[in-house]
Amino acid sequence: MFNVDQCIGCQSCISACKNENQTPTGVNWRRVSQITEDVFLSLSCNHCDSPECFRVCPEKAYTKQRDGIVIINPNRCNGCMDCVAACPFGAPQFDYEQHKASKCTMCYTRLQNNLQPSCVEACPTDALKIVDFNQDLPVSVELTVAGFPDIVLTRPSTRFIPPQPRRRYRLNCLN
């Protein structure tokens, strides 16, 4: 779950992901984009219900695990980049040196050891969280948010808390 209202755009999540997974240059499993002056989106793989990467991969390199996590097997990847083109969220990242795609694993080895994914652990404002869909979600939760690509095709597993309105007084320019 991503709380847009809490994200300060600090990019700790990106850096923590790279530190944990040692992804090479230019391969960023998690990315932060600035949607408007005050809204950031921190996005990675959404571990979709109907993953398009899984559907298009000619080598059947993708699996959707019982726990919902979508995994790519690098040994099967032939570097065709179909998944890179198909994913609306830019989750599969292409490593031009290895000629293979890779993506967020939701840090499943950390989860097995009762640790949070590295991005969640790093987030200083708890804007990123793992939530159990079988438990109660906050009432304000949304399936999508402004700036997030269309969810109809793949049904992402990410949930959002949208930004709340705030009072702002800009400089009185007339003087």
Partner: protein, 688 residues
């Protein structure tokens, strides 16, 4: 192959509020990853984007590995030399200068905040003091004005525990941007908000923190003092102040009320000067009246103006009037001087030496003015003055006068490029240190986690070697205790008082985790360290030092140039420390941020090149149009190919000399004009 990691405790030594404690995972002498140290009660196991990227720092291909000599200076013709050759050249020069002038006054150094661990920050002070009389820089670039303001009001600078900010009901951030510069503090701010507190950000820039504030008030740079005094006047008029606190613990309330009554602090004047609407002013005064306790936090950028000492005193007065002093969740936050309780053996080595003092904030000009003897040798460490100092024109002249320039750094900075010798510095993973935050109350040990990176050495180690070399060539020339190791220096810092206040028996205890200073809430006893024993709105000490006794509003600097330039920090880098950074697509210091209206007036488009100029020079930047910057203000980030500081010259704050010998640096009183054109090819591209 070894599959288990050794885990060490380290501390990020960047000049930053957070001073995050980290765990480093090492196998076969190589760093594999870093993590936040969950035992650190303030940072609680989290790092920032810079901290998590430390592998890229340690193993950056740009990192310096060997001592280098450049001849001729500035030619870019570098030659790898041995440590022995480097130290011999330095020692011979020092001895030759000593012989030529009959003293060491031709020697100086310039040390910055590149590594704020105790054993790094003060190593050069100790070494140069060991030589006896020399030319010593004093002063503080960062926070001198504010420190004096706090001293006049409270008698001493004491920061409330930032973890207590979580109990505030109102948080006022004056030019502080923790979402960028103190992300660990956001936890406590959010905790307070969750419990019903209001977060108010008062800032000329719409920062990432402003974006999360319940109330954001944009203000013209340098006019906060007027706002604070206006609020004070309104609260006094409506009798919405803390009568008990005022009567018992404030000195000079009547004089202050008279000053407010006799001057124009009307909402209309406030609106004209600060740019704040009367509605915003009213809303803020209501919050101050209704929401208690209130924590105020004054950012360091705030006091980079010529009138900032007065502005800070005005905010402190506002906190005192409303009784927001000495209580949980209340207080004026600025700076924690945790280091002062330590003996600081390095800083105080031979401190009785009568040195020739120069102002670090006017360094190059001050040095150039010295004769008999002139300064001929400089040692630069932990700093990149050719990017970060003001008065760069004078610096260029100074470089010509110097016969030997030695720079110690991890990277080939702008300053290193203009040096004769560059010595490779150790990263904090490669040497012991002790870190005391200037914000939170935690003390943490930095362990030696990695073997030396090629031939890199810590500042302390370099001075140990140089001392031996000097004393070999001229017995007894330096009394720097070269026999003492880093561990010995650590042990000497842990006095009985430190053991008690941090609950430890030795520095080795910190191997088990950081420890927190046990201290009551500052000023909870309401016994202030001033002459009157009260909070002094009226300060006789200030008057004695030729300052107004009361906090007075002084208008900010103005200029014939239409734009004021602010140069705040980014969350991706600190100052000019960017040479190792991954993921920054292009050098953000090559940008100039400009308001939409101003861009229209000047017919500018995004990515267009412009020239910023004033009497000190000109430089080229690329336009980025944004409404996060108000009209009349430009933002340029620090460092880069054409550092913005080259346009700043002799700009000082109103305070600083009480506690730091000289007044602070008014980096933000920088005014420029702007015209289209310029070289757009300067953007330097960095990749991961």
């Amino acid at each position: 192959m070894n599959t288990t990691y050794e885990v060490f405790r380290n501390v990020c030594p960047r000049n930053c509020y957070n001073s995050c404690a980290m765990l480093s995972y090492v196998r076969d002498g190589k760093l594999y990853k870093v993590a936040g140290d969950p035992q650190h009660g303030f940072t609680r196991g989290k790092l920032c984007s810079k901290g998590y990227a430390y592998l890229k720092y340690v193993y950056s291909p740009n990192r310096l590995r060997f001592p280098l000599r450049q001849y001729p200076r500035g030619s870019g013709k570098w030659e790898k030399i041995s440590w022995n050759e480097a130290l011999e050249q330095i020692a011979e020069k020092i001895l030759e200068l000593n012989k030529r002038y009959g003293s060491n006054l031709s020697l100086t150094y310039n040390n910055g905040s590149g590594n704020i661990g105790l054993l790094h920050q003060y190593a050069s002070a100790a070494f140069f003091n060991s030589l006896g009389q020399h030319t010593k820089p004093v002063g503080n670039f960062c926070l001198a004005a504010g420190q004096d303001a706090f001293t006049y009001d409270f008698g001493q600078t004491l920061n409330p525990d930032p973890e207590q900010m979580g109990y505030a009901k109102l948080i006022l951030l004056w030019g502080a941007n923790p979402a960028c510069t103190a992300i660990q503090q956001m936890k406590y701010i959010n905790a307070a908000r969750k419990a019903g507190a209001k977060l108010v950000v008062i800032d000329p820039l719409f920062t990432s923190t402003a974006a999360k504030a319940d109330l954001y008030i944009q203000i013209r740079p340098g006019t906060d003092g007027l706002l604070a005094l206006g609020l004070a006047k309104k609260l006094i008029e409506n009798e919405d102040y803390d009568r008990e606190f005022v009567e018992n613990h404030i000195y000079g309330f009547e004089a202050f009320s008279r000053y407010l009554n006799n001057s124009d602090f009307s909402p209309s004047r406030l609106s004209t000067v600060t740019g704040i609407t009367e509605e915003a002013f009213y809303e803020l005064s209501q919050l101050l009246k209704e929401y208690k306790p209130c924590s105020s936090w004054i950012g360091y950028g705030f006091q980079r103006h010529s009138n900032s000492g007065q502005s800070i005193r005005a905010i402190n007065a506002l906190m005192a009037l409303t009784g927001n002093i000495g209580k949980s969740g209340a207080g004026a936050y600025y700076l924690h001087l945790g280091q002062e309780a330590f003996p600081l053996k390095l800083a105080n080595h031979n401190s009785s030496v009568q040195n020739r003092l120069v102002n670090i904030n006017d360094f190059a000009s001050s040095i150039l003015s010295l004769q008999d003897p002139p300064v001929k040798f400089i040692w630069i460490s932990g700093r990149n003055p050719l990017s970060q100092d003001q008065g760069l024109t004078a610096w260029r002249e100074l470089l010509n006068q110097l016969e030997l320039i030695v720079t110690v750094d991890l990277f080939m900075t702008k300053t290193a490029e203009h040096s004769d010798l560059v010595l490779p510095a150790a990263s904090h993973f490669e040497e012991y240190d002790l870190n005391i935050s200037y914000w939170h109350y935690w003390l943490a040990l930095n362990e030696k986690a990695l073997p030396a990176y090629y031939e890199a050495k810590s500042d302390l180690e370099i001075f140990r070697l140089l001392t031996r070399k000097l004393n070999k060539l001229s017995a007894g020339f330096s009394d720097f205790p070269a026999e003492l190791s880093a561990e010995d220096w650590l042990a000497s810092e842990i006095t009985t008082q430190i053991k008690v206040s941090y609950g430890i028996n030795s520095w080795q205890d910190l191997k088990n985790g950081p420890k927190k200073l046990q201290m009551e809430i500052p000023w909870s006893s309401c016994k202030f360290r001033t002459a009157s024993g009260k909070f002094e709105i009226y300060s006789k000490l200030a008057r004695k030092n030729n300052l107004p006794a009361l906090p007075k509003y002084h208008p900010p600097q103005s200029s014939k140039h239409p734009f004021q330039v602010l140069s705040p920090q980014k969350n991706e880098f600190i100052h000019s420390q960017t040479k190792w950074l991954p993921r920054i697509i292009h050098d953000q210091a090559s940008l100039v941020l400009i308001n939409t209206n101003d861009a229209q007036t000047h017919n500018l488009r995004d990515d267009e090149s412009v020239i910023l100029y004033n009497d000190n020079g000109s430089l080229s930047k690329k336009v980025q149009i944004t409404d996060s910057v108000p009209p009349g203000v430009l933002v340029v980030f620090q460092g880069g190919q054409e550092p913005i500081n080259s346009l700043i010259n002799e700009s000082f704050c109103d305070m600083g000399k009480l506690k730091n010998h000289y007044n602070g640096n008014a980096f933000y009183d920088l005014f420029v004009s702007l015209k289209k054109g310029g070289d757009s090819a300067e953007a330097a591209w960095f990749f991961v």
